[in-house]
C-alpha cells in the first residue's frame, strides 16, 4: 500500500500558512539561504539528479530544461512561472498558491538564482482574484524581508518578481502563447524552435515552469536528490499532487509518490460515491485519453500511464460513475476546445468546430449516418497536424471514448443522452427535472 506524502500540501491546514511569519516559522526560506551558498551549476545538477519532471503536463525533466539555457551573454534571461491552471480537471496549483504562496516565491527565488535570472514573472490566470491577492502580498512581504530585491541575504544576487494576471484564455497556458500574452499580445502559440530556452520572453533565454514544479524545488534543495528519489519510481521520481474530483466519496487533493494507483487513491477517498460504480476517468485532465475500471491498477507515473494508452498529464483524476453519459461528457469538453481554440491553425480551428456540431447532434439523439466515422476522421486530421498541443488534446477524449463506448455514440443516432442517462442521477444534489422543454440538459451551449 502506497502512503501519502504531504510536502507541498503540508501546511495547508495550518491557521494562516500564507503569511510570511507562518512560513518562516516552519523553516521557510531556509532552502533559499542554503541555495545562495551553492554554485549555480551545482543547483542545476541537483535538480537534474532529483529527476524532477515538469508538473504542468508534459513531464519534461526540469533540470535538463534549465541546462538548455545558453551560456550567459551579459543580457537578461527570465524565469516565467506558468500559473494559468486551466486544463479541465486540474485544480492543484490554485489551492497551493492560495494556502502557501511563499513556497512558490521561495522556489522562484532559488530557480532564478540557479539559472541566473534577475527578473521572474508569475503568470496567473485572471479568474482567481483571491489567489492573486495572496501572491501579490507574498511577493511584497518577501521583498520587505529581504528574500527578494537587491543583494538577497547579502549574497550579491538581485531579483525582481512581477505577478501578472491573465484575462481568461486557456491557450495562454501553452508556454509560448503565455509568453506572447505576457508581452501584451493575443495569446497565440509561437513556432518552435526556437524554444523559450533560446528565445523566450522578449526573445531572450527563458525558462517556463509550472507552479508545482517550481514549488517542489525548495524541498529538493533542503532534502537533496536522494530524498526526492526515495519517492516515486525510477523514471518518475518524487511526489506529486493527485486531484480527485467527481463521483468519489471524498474528492480532494492527495499528495503521493508518483506511481500510486487509482485503486489505492480511491480506497483512501472512500471509493466511488455510495451505491455507484466507476465508469470512466481521466488520468491527467480532459486532454488525456479516458480510462475505465480496467485501468485501476495502472501505476500513475509517466511511463505506465503512457504505456496504457493515455498520459499522466496534470494528475487531474476526474471520476465519473455509471449514471454519466460519455457522449455528454465528451461533447462538453469539445465545446471547451472549440471555444478556446486560438484560431491560428486550420485543423484545430475548423476541426473543433465540426467536432462540436457532430457531438451536439449525437448528444441530442439526432446523429446522422456516418457521424461516428466523421468524428474519428476529423480527429485523425487534427492529431499531429495542429500547430500546438491544444488541437491534439481536443481529440483525446473523443477518440478514446469512441473506442471504449462506441455503442453510446451509436445510440446517439436516435436517443438523446438525457434520456439514456438522466442528468439528475449524476448530479450531486437532488432536484426535480423539468423535461418538458425538450432535453433541457442538451439545450445548453447552442
Amino acid at each position: 500500500m502506497t502512503s501519502l506524502t504531504p510536502i507541498l500540501t503540508r501546511s495547508w491546514g495550518d491557521e494562516t500558512p500564507w503569511k510570511l511569519e507562518s512560513y518562516e516559522k516552519a523553516g521557510g526560506y531556509e532552502g533559499l539561504k542554503k541555495a545562495l551558498g551553492q554554485s549555480q551549476a551545482d543547483l542545476v545538477q541537483l535538480v537534474k539528479d532529483s529527476g524532477l519532471r515538469g508538473r504542468g503536463g508534459a513531464g519534461f525533466p526540469t533540470g535538463m530544461k534549465w541546462g538548455f539555457l545558453p551560456a550567459p551573454d551579459g543580457g537578461p534571461r527570465y524565469l516565467v512561472v506558468n500559473a494559468d491552471e486551466s486544463e479541465p480537471g486540474t485544480c492543484k496549483d490554485i489551492p497551493l498558491m492560495m494556502a502557501d504562496p511563499h513556497l512558490l516565491v521561495e522556489g522562484v527565488a532559488i530557480t532564478s538564482y540557479a539559472i541566473g535570472s534577475h527578473h521572474a514573472f508569475i503568470y496567473i490566470r485572471g479568474e482567481v482574484v483571491h489567489v492573486y491577492r495572496r501572491l501579490l502580498k507574498a511577493v511584497a512581504d518577501a521583498y520587505a524581508a529581504g528574500h527578494l530585491g537587491k543583494n538577497i541575504h547579502g549574497s550579491g544576487f538581485d531579483l525582481d518578481v512581477t505577478v501578472h494576471a491573465g484575462a481568461g484564455a486557456y491557450i495562454c497556458g501553452e508556454e509560448t502563447a503565455l509568453l506572447d500574452s505576457l508581452e501584451g499580445r493575443r495569446g497565440q502559440p509561437r513556432l518552435k524552435p526556437p524554444f523559450p530556452a533560446v528565445a523566450g520572453l522578449y526573445a531572450r533565454p527563458t525558462v517556463v515552469n509550472n507552479v508545482e514544479s517550481i514549488a517542489s524545488v525548495p524541498a529538493i534543495v533542503r532534502g537533496g536528490a536522494d530524498w526526492f528519489t526515495s519517492m516515486g519510481t525510477e523514471r518518475s521520481t518524487g511526489h506529486g499532487i493527485f486531484s480527485l474530483s467527481g463521483h468519489v466519496t471524498r474528492p480532494g487533493q492527495y499528495e503521493a509518490p508518483l506511481g500510486i494507483t487509482l485503486r489505492e487513491l480511491l480506497e483512501m477517498a472512500g471509493g466511488i460515491r455510495e451505491g455507484h460504480e466507476l465508469k470512466f476517468w481521466t488520468p491527467g485532465g480532459s486532454s488525456t485519453p479516458i480510462f475505465t475500471a480496467e485501468h485501476l491498477d495502472v501505476p500513475l507515473d509517466y511511463e505506465s500511464v503512457g504505456a496504457a494508452g493515455s498520459m499522466l498529464g496534470t494528475r487531474a483524476l476526474q471520476i465519473f460513475d455509471e449514471t454519466t453519459s460519455v457522449v455528454r461528457a465528451v461533447s462538453r469538453w469539445t465545446d471547451f476546445y472549440a471555444h478556446e481554440s486560438c484560431g491560428k491553425c486550420t485543423p484545430c480551428r475548423e476541426g473543433t468546430y465540426w467536432l462540436k456540431q457532430i457531438l451536439h447532434r449525437l448528444e441530442h439523439g439526432k446523429g446522422e449516418a456516418g457521424d461516428i466515422e466523421k468524428l474519428v476522421d476529423i480527429c485523425d486530421n487534427i492529431l499531429g497536424r495542429a500547430f500546438c498541443a491544444l488541437g491534439d488534446g481536443a481529440t483525446s477524449s473523443i477518440t478514446s471514448a469512441v473506442q471504449l463506448f462506441r455503442e453510446e455514440f451509436e445510440a446517439g443516432m436516435t436517443q438523446p443522452a438525457s434520456e439514456l442517462f438522466p442528468p439528475e442521477r449524476s448530479a450531486l444534489f437532488d432536484y426535480t427535472p423539468r423535461r418538458s422543454a425538450g432535453a433541457a440538459a442538451g439545450a445548453v451551449h447552442a
Partner: protein, 265 residues
C-alpha cells in the same frame, strides 16, 4: 497629451496608475493586460476611451489594442454588471449539477449567458473549469469561489445580491467586491484583503487529513532517519499505525492549527 475622453482629474489618476503598472515590466507593452483591467476598474468594461488611453500610454494603435482586448474573455465589450455570476459548466461541474444551477439562475435572473439584468446589477455567465473541480459544482462571483453549490444554495446567494446585500465566498475575502474594485486588483493593486478568508477549503485538506489519521508523513530530509524508517517499515511489514511516532520533515503535517481549522469547517 490627453486626447482621451476622460475628465482631466480622472486622466491624471489613470496616468499615475499606468506609470506604476508600466514600471513592473522591462518592456512597456507587457503592461497592456493590466492596463485593460485598469480600464475596466474605471469604466466597468473596455470602453472606447479606455482603448485610446491604453494606446496612448503604450504608443500602440487603437486597432492593435482592440485586437488584444477581444482575444480575452474577461475583457467586456459592453458595460458589465456590478457582479458577474459565473456557473462552471465545463464537463465535470456540469455533470455534478452545474447545468441545472445555470438553468435555475437563468430563470431567476431572466437573462442568458453573457447577459446583464436590466438594472445593471448582475451579469450571468457560463464559465469554464476554474481549477476547483474537487469542489464541484462551482459558482464564481466576480471570480471568488463559491464551492460545492446546489441549485438552492446558488439561488440563495444570488437572491442576496439582488436584494443589495453583500455575499461571502467559501474561499476568498470577507465579501465579494464589485466588478470595478475586482478589476483594480487584477491590474495589480492590492486592496488589503489578502489576509481575509480561509487558507484552504475542505477538499484541499482531504489528503492531509487521511495522512494524519494514518500517521503518514513525507520521508525525512535526514538520510539516516530515512533508512531507519524504511527498515522499521520493512520489519513491521505493514503501514504504520495511527499516531505512531515517525520521523518526519521539520514541519509536521498534523499541528494543532490543523485541528483548529478542521473544527471550524
Amino acid at each position: 497629451m490627453t486626447t482621451t475622453g476622460y475628465a482631466p482629474e480622472v486622466r491624471a489618476r489613470l496616468d499615475a496608475d499606468a506609470a506604476d503598472i508600466v514600471s513592473r515590466y522591462p518592456q512597456a507593452r507587457s503592461a497592456l493586460l493590466p492596463l485593460l483591467h485598469l480600464v475596466q476598474s474605471e469604466d466597468g468594461y473596455v470602453s472606447r476611451h479606455g482603448i485610446e488611453f491604453c494606446a496612448e500610454t503604450l504608443g500602440l494603435t487603437t486597432a492593435s489594442v482592440s485586437a488584444v482586448a477581444t482575444f480575452y474573455t474577461q475583457y467586456k465589450r459592453r458595460p458589465n454588471g456590478e457582479y458577474t455570476v459565473g456557473v462552471c459548466t465545463n464537463t465535470l461541474c456540469a455533470i455534478m449539477g452545474g447545468d441545472e444551477i445555470f438553468e435555475r439562475l437563468s430563470e431567476r435572473l431572466g437573462v442568458g449567458h453573457d447577459e446583464t439584468t436590466e438594472d445593471g446589477r448582475i451579469t450571468l455567465e457560463r464559465v469554464e473549469c476554474n481549477a476547483a473541480c474537487d469542489f464541484a459544482p462551482v459558482m464564481m462571483i466576480n471570480w471568488e469561489f463559491f464551492d460545492n453549490q446546489t441549485a438552492d444554495s446558488a439561488l440563495e446567494v444570488v437572491d442576496r445580491l439582488i436584494a443589495g446585500e453583500d455575499v461571502t465566498p467559501t474561499r476568498g475575502p470577507e465579501k465579494v467586491v464589485s466588478f470595478k474594485e475586482m478589476s483594480r486588483v487584477l491590474a495589480g493593486f492590492d486592496d488589503g484583503r489578502a489576509d481575509e478568508g480561509v487558507a484552504a477549503g475542505g477538499a484541499s485538506l482531504v489528503g492531509l487529513e487521511i495522512a494524519r489519521d494514518h500517521g503518514w508523513t513525507a520521508p525525512s530530509y535526514d538520510a539516516a532517519e530515512r533508512e531507519a524508517a524504511a527498515s522499521a517499515a520493512a520489519s513491521a511489514d505493514a503501514a504504520p499505525g495511527v499516531g505512531e511516532e515517525h520521523s518526519s520533515a521539520d514541519r509536521p503535517a498534523g499541528s494543532d492549527a490543523d485541528v483548529e481549522t478542521e473544527e471550524k469547517r
